[in-house]
Structures are given as structure tokens and as C-alpha cells.
Amino acid sequence: MDERSTRVDVTAWRVAPLSDGFTDEVMRRIDEPVEPSSVDALDLLEPAPDDERLALVPRSSQARTARAPATLGTIALAVAAAILLVLWLARPLPTEAPATSAPTSPAMHVEAGPVEALDRDGIRRVIREQFQPAAKLCYEVLQINDAPRGPGAMQRPYVSPRGRVPLMFAVAREGDRGIVVRAEIGVEPDIDDRTFHECLLAAMRKSVFEGPFSKDPVEIEIHLVFGPDETSLLDDAD
């Protein structure tokens, strides 16, 4: 991508400055409490998303690599994985999700929220212990569904689906625990497969969080990174 070929001199676009009384107005309001928002100034001081996102596979194996097509062994593994996934997803919900009006503004990254909200470590623990195993199974099923089939399949190279999938969800308090009241795939997922997305969302909706909780639902966005894992599908590769 040649940057020079698309550069445009934009300096001609001038905009009006702020008003003369701007500084005075800010100083007048400086002691006002700041309303909670998904734009958390402190949160924006946190490390870059690259440092924070939850890698489901080792970074070293994320390179696009050609893999052998599905063999009988991998098909059997996939069937087993699919059965495990179905069983896991079919486990009873801790409780029904309450009818709640989820916030409409998008969450930015992993929001810590107000003082009594979920903490990052707690969120990571739930993701790692509850969601991640199921997400790996979702990915395995995707790989198998995506693999070449039919005559000559063994001779055709297979490139595993890979990339980032943003996932947003809202956790609301119910009793002494938090349940997922809304989950959706974020914009521009690198892996655009509806079945895969539904699988991830179903897995997320099953997750149960521990408090403390804020009064309102906490919106959380995580970035899942999927890629071919040459070692074991069920390894923890955090």
C-alpha cells in the first residue's frame, strides 16, 4: 500500500476556533462531578489493546500457514469437540436473564466501570475459565466446516480461518452474581461466519460472573484472536 499515492493535502480545511470564553467556562465547571460514560478518561491511560486482548492461540502460530486437509483423525476430533460443545452449551443456565434495558452506548475495551463494578481480573478469570474452552471448541468446529471436502481434498491446501473477533457483552447483577444479559459480535470481525458467531455468543451467554457489581449493567468488549494451533486445540494458550 503506497501511502504517497493516496495522500491529500488537507491543510485547506480550516475550522473555527473555540469561543473566547471557553477556558472560563471549563474552569467554572471544573469541580462538577463527571457523569459516568463509556469514555473513561482513566481507562484510556491503560495499555494498548495489543497488550490486553485475549489470545486464544499462541501469537507464534498466528501466521497464515497452510495445513493439511482434514483427515479421519481430525474429523473424529471435531465430532468429539462438537459433542462436547453441544453438551457444554446445553448445561442449565444459572437463572433466566432478567428483562433489562441494556445501555445503548458501545463499551470501550474492558470497562472497569464505577467503584463497585466488575474488576478486570474477575472478567479475565471468567473468560479464561468459562468462555475460552467453549470458544476453542467453536473454532474447532469452524475449522472442520471450513476444510476442503470431496474428491481431491487431501491434495488441496487448507488455510485455517484466523483473525480477530471483537465480542461485546453486558453483565447485569442478579442476586449475588452477574449474568450476561446481552452479547453481540463487534464490527469488522476478521472471521465472518454466522454459525461461528452464534456459537461464540451462546458460549458467552452461559458465563457467570462474580461481584462486586455496579448498579447498572457493565458493558465489556473483548477481542478474541483465533488462529491455527499446531499443538493441541484444548491447550490453554493464554
Partner: protein
């Protein structure tokens, strides 16, 4: 007033950075003069970013309010800001401003294809510009006004505020690859729009 001379500082930028560090430290303990100095130093860039982000969205009039909001949020969190840390105050402020703008646009929930229709309301401060430059500025404003907000944010941060790719990625919490692709598409769209202006 006698200028403060710091012979040990090699450049004006270094001197400015030291001044800013002192202002941040003073503002962290509530010194109003330091707060004013920080506002004075950054209000132009924050205001420009917001005006460009909101141009053509129907929220043009909210630039001033969101600029206030940006500084108020920053001052509320300033005691936790490390002036010696990796984050620059300017980058942090512009990140807050960008997020507030995107949030405001999102709240309006304008479908992407509506931006085309609304961009006719984009204005450019042309009073100091020569006619040709003014026309070019108007064309750029209109073309940028047609960009969907996520593309516009990348474009404005890069082109008008000199953010590095990694800084944009961190500000918008997207991958560097996404930054590059959005920037490339935004520039390509802008070039197409400007060619149309040339032909017209």
C-alpha cells in the same frame, strides 16, 4: 515579562515539554493557573478535532460542549496521569475527544448512507483563505463529512494531528492493520471526491 531561559534545553519543544510537565504537576494539585495553561495549550487542537469529527453529522454545534467535556474528564482523572509516563497529554486529550465524538455520533445512530446527504451542511472557516484554497477546503470538508465516523476518526487523527499508526490504534482500540486500511480507504475516497470537484 522576562522570558524564562533554560540553556540546558536543546530545543523549543523540549522547553515546552518541561513547561507542560510543570503545569501538569501543578494542575494535579488543583492549581487554577496551571489548569488554564493546559487548556490554553490544547484547546485549539481539541476544538479542531471535534469540529472536524462532528462536521456534517448534524452535531456541528456540539463541538464546544464536547471540548468542555473533554477537559473536564481529563482534569477529573489528571491526578492519575503520569507526566513522565509513555502517554502524552495531547494524545490523551485527543483520544478522549475522539471517543466523545464517536459516542455522540453513535447515540444519534445515523445510518452510514445518511452521511452523504448531511455532508452538504459541512462548513469550512474560509474567511482567511484565498478563494481557491477556500474552495479546496470546502471540498475536503464535504468529502471528509461523507466518511463514516470510524474512518473519519482515523483520518482526522492522522492527517490533522499527526498521530502515528500505533497511537491511532491505541486511541481507537483497533489493530494497526485496521488503521492502515481505514486510512487508505479514507484517502482514496477523498481523492475521488476532489477529482470530482476538479472536473466540476
Amino acid at each position: 515579562m522576562q522570558p524564562i531561559v533554560r540553556p540546558e534545553l536543546a530545543t523549543a519543544k523540549e522547553a515546552s515539554d518541561v513547561d507542560e510537565r510543570e503545569d501538569i504537576l501543578a494542575a494535579q494539585v488543583g492549581d487554577p493557573a496551571a489548569c488554564r495553561a493546559l487548556i490554553a495549550r490544547h484547546q485549539r487542537s481539541v476544538g479542531s478535532l471535534l469540529r472536524r469529527m462532528l462536521a456534517g453529522t448534524g452535531l456541528d454545534g456540539q463541538g464546544e460542549d464536547l471540548a468542555q467535556e473533554t477537559f473536564l474528564r481529563a482534569f477529573a482523572a489528571l491526578p492519575r496521569f503520569d507526566p513522565d509516563g509513555p502517554a502524552r497529554l495531547s494524545t490523551w486529550l485527543l483520544t478522549i475527544a475522539t471517543r466523545l465524538a464517536l459516542q455522540a455520533i453513535e447515540r444519534r445512530r445515523i445510518p452510514a448512507d445518511e452521511f452523504d446527504d448531511m455532508s452538504s451542511g459541512v462548513h469550512v472557516a474560509a474567511d482567511e483563505l484565498a478563494p481557491d484554497r477556500a474552495r479546496l477546503g470546502e471540498a475536503i470538508a464535504t468529502a471528509v463529512g461523507r466518511l463514516p465516523p470510524p474512518y473519519r476518526a482515523v483520518f482526522v487523527l492522522r492527517e490533522f494531528h499527526g498521530f502515528e499508526y500505533i497511537e491511532i490504534a491505541r486511541s481507537l482500540q483497533i489493530d494497526v492493520g485496521t488503521v492502515k486500511s481505514r486510512l487508505w480507504r479514507a484517502r482514496a475516497a477523498l481523492q475521488r471526491a476532489l477529482k470530482e470537484v476538479d472536473r466540476g
